[in-house]
Subunit: 411 residues, 2 copies
Amino acid sequence: MSRQQDAHKHDLDREDPLGHKQTAFDLPKGVIYLDGNSLGVLPAHVPARMQCVVTQEWGQSLIRGWNDHNWIDLPQKVGNRIARLIGAEPGAVVACDSTTINVFKVLSAALSLRPERTVIVSDNGNFPTDLYVADGLTKLLGKGHFLRLVDPQNVTKAISEDVAVVMLTEVDYKTGRRHDMKAITEKAHAAGALMIWDLAHSAGAFPVDLAGAKADFAVGCGYKYLNGGPGAPAFLYVAPRHQEHVTAPMTGWMGHEAPFAFDLDYRPAAGIDRMRVGTPPVLSLSALDAALDVFDDVDMEELRKKSVSLSELFIREVESRNVGLELASPRDPDERGSQVSFRFKEGYALMQALISCGVIGDFRAPDIVRFGFTPLFISHGDVLRAVDTLEKILVTRMWDREEFKKRQKVT
Amino acid sequence: MSRQQDAHKHDLDREDPLGHKQTAFDLPKGVIYLDGNSLGVLPAHVPARMQCVVTQEWGQSLIRGWNDHNWIDLPQKVGNRIARLIGAEPGAVVACDSTTINVFKVLSAALSLRPERTVIVSDNGNFPTDLYVADGLTKLLGKGHFLRLVDPQNVTKAISEDVAVVMLTEVDYKTGRRHDMKAITEKAHAAGALMIWDLAHSAGAFPVDLAGAKADFAVGCGYKYLNGGPGAPAFLYVAPRHQEHVTAPMTGWMGHEAPFAFDLDYRPAAGIDRMRVGTPPVLSLSALDAALDVFDDVDMEELRKKSVSLSELFIREVESRNVGLELASPRDPDERGSQVSFRFKEGYALMQALISCGVIGDFRAPDIVRFGFTPLFISHGDVLRAVDTLEKILVTRMWDREEFKKRQKVT
């Protein structure tokens, strides 16, 4: 690292109001982890909390844990903690099931509010599982619904008067390109359509303002920027104005007005609870609940500022080294989430080499190398060290070398 | 305890080939836990395994855990371990989502295989959430399906030629009454209907033979007799002959032929995988996976033998003490699962008193006190001690006494 870079790093990290947060995480030694957008890092206090949940809450309280430890309220409790991070009203978010299942639930609920319309608008930058759900649901319903799939820049043009629902992921998982939530939601409403936002790459990454944007529904992921652990429960949002009108497609006992009355007939619970289905997954919800502690004293505007600073530094440094990577993310940080992607023909081999050198990002076919900037545990120094490693690998074409190939075979 | 009872206890426990299993569980001191049918007990080795999954697999491997620790295969791996306990073919069971969500998936899949028929037969002893799902799904589909709900003893009479699906819970959650899986499945098939079994109170409780009974679909629970922890992932079964023909109602990326190709179009995976939806919940699946270790050397016929012995002893002892409880379960053990229920007008107060004395069962409105016999950690001695406590409480009507009321208010 040059003296100038070193000085630069120190300046930026010294001024960083979130710098102390790195110690809240248990990062593997020698790793620069730029993949918190795919799976978040373990908060240092989570193992002790999990041990307590397993040995004390489950082991000692057993069935009494539902009352003694309020297991039954975990979906709402965790939902309310996420609500603050995404600008949702209290009582409008519930943590449950997987993101995909929650897409199914809110898409079905939204369509039932627009029975006279048949079009679902989405874009080809959406995460595929969201599109699969739309495809499967339209076939299941058999009522002539269809998906109008367009390029991301053509979404607003596609919102005509026959559109029931616009369903978008705010941040493109491949490129980090970010939609204008407020403008698109306004456009959807102006056409009489409802708006669903998938916040998989937004929640915990930057401030989201669902209520301010007047979003109708949202879903999101617990295991990315929220650090809830692999396969953590997801969440869903229903705007308070819709809660008493929506019909859940999967009517389970946890969405019943009185789950423990064991009535034979279903009556939907009031509020967001009717979107719950089965028994809450206490162990994994507890891990997510604990993981959210690290956000308690975090100002999301501060977080965003650092995210932009990290990603701008990364782009500047990568491009200044002239190593043949082509920026795939928007250059304007206002149009990006908290990740930066580059195109590189041998991207898969490059990413394997980076990972073997302790810089973990990921690869998305055919040629995208993707780097997530999670400001709670990444420093500007990390960014510079990652770029140094990247440069070294690209200059030496390490993946062509015999000893690298041998090592790859072993691991 | 009388000398005769004491001798009896010793005889039965001394001959018990499963007696050594009690040490495989971490039971709270001073508790006789007769509620493993509601939430299973913590296997003693699970905390260490969870700590390893959290700190090593998640904390150190991070995103590499999907490959390094085969997280992605956990649903099938755990499914195959459950398969042995329920007489399912290898590759026919997958562990995922909640029981309720799995009911939705298999019911929808079954109905799509009988498009010309509209009737779903179930009974009013089914667990309410299964009925809620049927109600919600028929409304969602809007194709004239309806639920024909009958008394348990009238199920076979209700299976006419217009029935698409018969959907039953094998063991009644309130009374422990057990359906004849083979006979009813045969009757359903003879009428051209498909058969779904909910094994919530069967899996891990006694030998089930799904393949032998030619069941079409099944679902079940991970947190009851399988001891997977509160809200553990559930499972579902699709008979191999149907796997390539079923349509999943929720088409998610984990049910795609090539989840990591990120194609925009959905193509169902081969086999049981198409019934998967979202990202597997690694933490809770790992707990369930570990919990299943205790079954590895268990002969399910042996388990059943002990279950009958425990429940027969319990009924005999309760009735011999003349304390006013009326048997709500079938008297013939062949017609029962692994629980015994009694009716008692002040059942709620009785169960509160029992729990406060360390005998944990549960109460189901309006008047059922329910006791589960999980042969891996309950001994005949436990049964006798539980009955002694029950007798003492009933003779003294403890719940009428001031000091009990005071204590109840505090807790």
